[in-house]
Amino acid sequence: MIDLEPLNNLYSGIIAENKIRALFPILHQEVNGKPLVYFDNAATTQKPIQVIEALKKYYEVDNSNIHRGAHTLASRATDYFEQTRNLVKEFINSPSSEEVIFTKGTTDSINLVASTFGRKFVKEGDEIIISTLEHHSNIVPWQMLCEEKGAILKIIPIHDNGELDLEAYKNLLSDKTKLVAVVHASNALGTINPVKEMIEQAHEFGAKFLLDGAQSTAHLDVNVQDLNCDFLAFSAHKVYGPTGVGILYGKRELLESMPPYQGGGEMIKEVTFAKTTYNDIPYKFEAGTPNIGDVIAFGEAIRFINQLGKPAIREHENQLLEHASERCANIKGFIPIGTAREKVSVLSFGINNIHPFDVGLMLDASGIAVRTGHHCTQPLMERFKIEGTVRASFAVYNTTEEVDRLVESLTKISKRKN
């Protein structure tokens, strides 16, 4: 394990940018002849060296299949694997580590709930509420479930600034509502939703609440007991961890009442050809050999965030977002998309008369990585009557100098048609 203690000295009001950057090897390269500026963090964050080293060490030293192993490597791998579960438990303040399930990613976590909770508890005529802001991964599983069950999908509309219409939400809630599945922070616009209040309102009608934390867990304090959400789904790779690891938190009584997701090894207590009894949570939902190495490495990502502290991360990213929003507003033809009062560090925009793809290509040519397109939120794009946006999203290792380079390039790009 890498000693992160020296990092504690880095925090002094704002995050000491250059020292943080030193921990991310990938950032130190040229792209198209220019120093890389990585502003595609909402798609995936880069990984600090301790995550990369942990993954390497796992395969060099500890690789073994976990649980039930009678040898030293197996028990070591199991310990490290379960240590990450415990770190996640603390990271989201879950009451217990058994309520933390490892999946492949946010999408897998949501599908797990749709396939188990949904299959067992959602009946014909029941209603599921989602919002206009949702990523396709929090739309399609519910559409599939509703189609199968004859249930009805209801959509919370948004205001022009990208905030949810909370009055409309209240009116959608009823005794028919079985589940509300809403994103904590929008991937396309950055809007932070007032989910604590929304969860309370859903509970008043006996509905369960699934919180999609894919875009919030790297930036905001996500405390499942305080929020009182019934499920939380998020991905390790958007939180400085490896790809291929997701988390599903669920309240114990719900998880225990839900049928298994997939059948196989690990998820059973006893198998006979006549009948199989299932394992306890969380293993009931973890059939097959999990992504051991990446889960273990994810532990290092959580330690990294804990060392910096979410408030420091958020303060730094907010400064970048403010700086970017202010400077970009002066670019001719700049059209911000999503101007909610509370946002994570996402700047979504268009440039008048220029297709987002062209903007992305020109930025890439100057070494700046952004995402362009519909961001897997086609209904949201339809709401704004646009094909897509350009999205710059900031992380803890980004700097104001990098934002200035973005502004400089956008100014040049905009001049082509404005």
Binding site: N32, G33, H355, F357, D358, L361, M362, A365, R416
Partner: protein, 143 residues
């Protein structure tokens, strides 16, 4: 009018001047697109869209004295620039010249590196469609 290969050579030498600088190359391609004659709005219909491109590309053709003329537009500037290169090489040529054309300039100017593999597939779709038009016209001429 210059032959297909001499136009390709012209393009290759123009791109050589730009060298390895991706930014200037992309801006240059987009500027070429800006110079395409205006494409009528009413022709921007589903029937004229080339399938297989990520961007929307509309292509129409006319046959004039045995020569095929292409008009095109796209919703992205980079694609418009790329198709303007194809039009420069192929438009105003006979059907058999178009059908038999070997468009080596695309590889020579390193287009794959400039636009990425997905866009390169789109470019192939454009070329295929232009050749299909020429084949159809030739069949009509021979009928």
């Amino acid at each position: 009018m210059a032959g297909i290969n001499s136009i390709q050579e012209e393009i290759i030498s123009e791109f050589e001047i730009l060298g390895d600088d991706k930014e200037s190359t992309i801006y240059y391609i987009m500027e070429l697109g800006d110079q395409l004659p205006e494409f009528p709005e009413e022709e921007k219909k589903e029937d004229n869209i080339i399938k297989g491109c990520q961007s929307k590309v509309w292509l129409t053709t006319t046959l004039d004295g045995g020569k095929v003329c292409f008009q095109a537009d796209s919703n992205t500037d980079i694609t418009k620039g790329l198709i303007s290169l194809l039009i420069r090489v192929l438009s105003g040529k006979t059907t058999s010249e178009i059908i038999n054309a070997n468009l080596y300039f695309i590889e020579k100017i390193g287009m794959g590196n400039i636009i990425g593999s997905q866009r390169s597939n789109g470019l192939s779709a454009m070329i295929k469609q232009m050749k299909l038009f020429a084949i159809a016209y030739q069949a009509k001429i021979n009928a």
